[in-house]
């Protein structure tokens, strides 16, 4: 650790790694723009649902129950007369937040595992690889259900469990990237110039290896949101009055025969968000190559 601090500063200037300079700007492609706009829109709605939904998502108006979609109620009204559109809009934040919690845990935990694994050889690398195998053998949904059983209900608990289940995926990609970047000339040059291992990792390897990891983060965020919505559908989300997408769809299922829009429309919104996030990940991955 001390070696890192004593590392001579000028060395970095000579062997500038591509990611650390401001000169290299990622090229923005058109395929990047549309999903980015959609995701930005969802983030906006998550933060200010009132922008598009002026009605109260929890206000029940029994006289207006089960209305079909109209100008006043874009997605119709539910079984006790709440505006479904407002409920969907207000459900954006919990979905997005839980997805981000999950993916942050996966990204940080898995990233660290991969980083350690990529820099070390022998038993530690092997142990982390086996740990990843074991974690991969327990799928995210089951992991979340096990956590919910053992620790108690709550979206945050489920999100943490999904994050843990996603760690091995991030660890694998991070490890492969670290191995790749470690073999590149500028990393070798940094090491030869006397930059300590930790400084090399932080200044040269990390900035150049997290592109694919971040692209993966977008894909995994979409998957986390899907798993969380499944949990909410199964009845393991927030308690009832909260407008969660999965729970909205589950509630609408009782009225499928006639009021099909109650279950189908929130699903379309959910799918639109996950598709946008996933496309963003794919675009980032391609941009990276």
């Amino acid at each position: 650790m001390t070696a890192a601090r004593q590392a001579p500063a000028p060395a970095a200037a000579v062997t500038e790694s591509p990611g650390s300079g401001p000169l290299v700007r990622p090229r923005v492609r058109p395929e990047f723009v549309l999903p980015a706009v959609v995701v930005a829109f969802f983030v906006l709605i998550a933060l200010w649902p009132e922008l598009i939904a002026s009605q109260d998502p929890t206000l029940a108006q029994p006289r207006e129950r089960l209305l079909p979609p109209s100008a006043e109620h874009l997605f119709g009204t539910d079984s006790i007369g709440r505006d479904q559109f407002a409920r969907v809009a207000h459900g954006t934040l919990p979905s997005l937040r839980a997805g981000l919690i999950a993916v942050s845990i996966g990204l940080v935990g898995g990233g660290l595992l991969g980083l350690v694994s990529g820099f070390s050889r022998g038993p530690l690398d092997l142990a982390i690889a086996r740990l990843c195998d074991a974690l991969l053998a327990i799928p995210g949904l089951l992991m979340a259900l096990a956590f919910l059983t053992a620790i108690g209900s709550g979206v945050t608990v489920a999100a943490c469990a999904i994050g843990i289940a996603q760690m091995p995926v991030f660890a694998r990609v991070m490890r492969a990237e670290v191995k790749r970047v470690s073999a590149l000339p500028y990393t070798e040059a940094a090491a030869a110039a006397g930059v300590g291992p930790v400084a090399t990792a932080v200044r040269h390897v990390l900035p150049n290896s997290w592109g694919p990891v971040l692209a993966l983060a977008a894909l995994e965020c979409g998957q986390a949101i899907l798993i969380l919505s499944s949990l909410s559908y199964l009845g393991f989300g927030e308690p009832p009055p909260a407008p969660e997408w999965g729970a909205l769809i589950a509630a609408g299922q009782s009225y499928l025969a006639v009021q099909w829009w109650l279950a189908v429309l929130p699903g379309v919104v959910l799918a639109a968000m996950v598709i946008a996030i996933t496309r963003l990940g794919h675009a980032a991955r391609r941009n990276d190559r």
Partner: protein
Amino acid sequence: MVTTTDRAPHPARPSRAGTGGPAGFSMLLLRRVGQVLFVIWLAFTLSFILLNVLPGDAVLAKLGGVDANRQITEAELAAIRAQVGLDGPLVTQYLQRLGGVVTLNLGHSLQTREPVLDMLVTALPPTLQLAAAGFLLAIAFGGLLGATAAYTRTPWLRTALLAFGTIGTAVPAFWIGISLITLFSFWLPLFPASGTAGPSSLVLPAITLAIMPASLVTQVFYESLARAMSEPFATTAVMKGASRMRVLVRHGIRNAAVPVVTLAGVVAGYLLVGSVVVETVFSRAGIGYLTVNAVRTVDLSVISGLVVFSAVVFVTLNLLVDLACPFIDPRMRAGMTS
């Protein structure tokens, strides 16, 4: 996924079939089985930490049916602990559980007192039916779409087919199920909306379950076909006058098989978990119903049995896939012994 990435994918020297020899193969088998057992043990240990160490007093109170709002006494807690087998030092508990798993005794349900293994065995057949149907659909449908996307020279058709690859992984299975029920049970009364009775009740759940893996198969199959079709041997075949279809069928598919088989292991594992959601949508009996019910009733021993079961299924499937790959692609046989 302990898959093909572990070994050198294309050994430089062209190998004759079976260079590994029988001794090499059994060594590989032994090492891989050892690895699999180790991973299962690790998964078991993780589930033990989660389900036997972490559960707090609140969970126990719920288990014992005690009103969580009032102060629960230490004596009551101890009684519940003893009742559900969470008493005694952790090491003893751990060794007991581990011994149980080794001898195929997964403990007893905390709710019904039934052996967990019996519950699993009873719940398995309907889920296996569903998973098998979903698997076949996914491979057939995904394979067809992927091959068509690789074969066609019409850009918009390819784009549309590949868009399915993205959309299929982004749409939640329960929503697909609900939409299918709306379309094919209510609007067009073709299939029952729920239940486990008869083959017609399997149609909608199997389609629901198959969409996600089918889109994965589409993506992977298309990518590996496209890669195979741009390789020199494909060009040679074209030069020799083979039609595009012939090159695709005779040369492309054989070369694109390994990634799809590797994916099949992952997909089969997904099908067992996906059944949790699909069985709930269609009110079917099976592993999924067992799982949801166990979570609702805080049945720790059933959940821990399910985690171990899932790990065994997943790891075994991947082992089989790993062992199958050299038989599909002779190029991998040389890498086996190294």
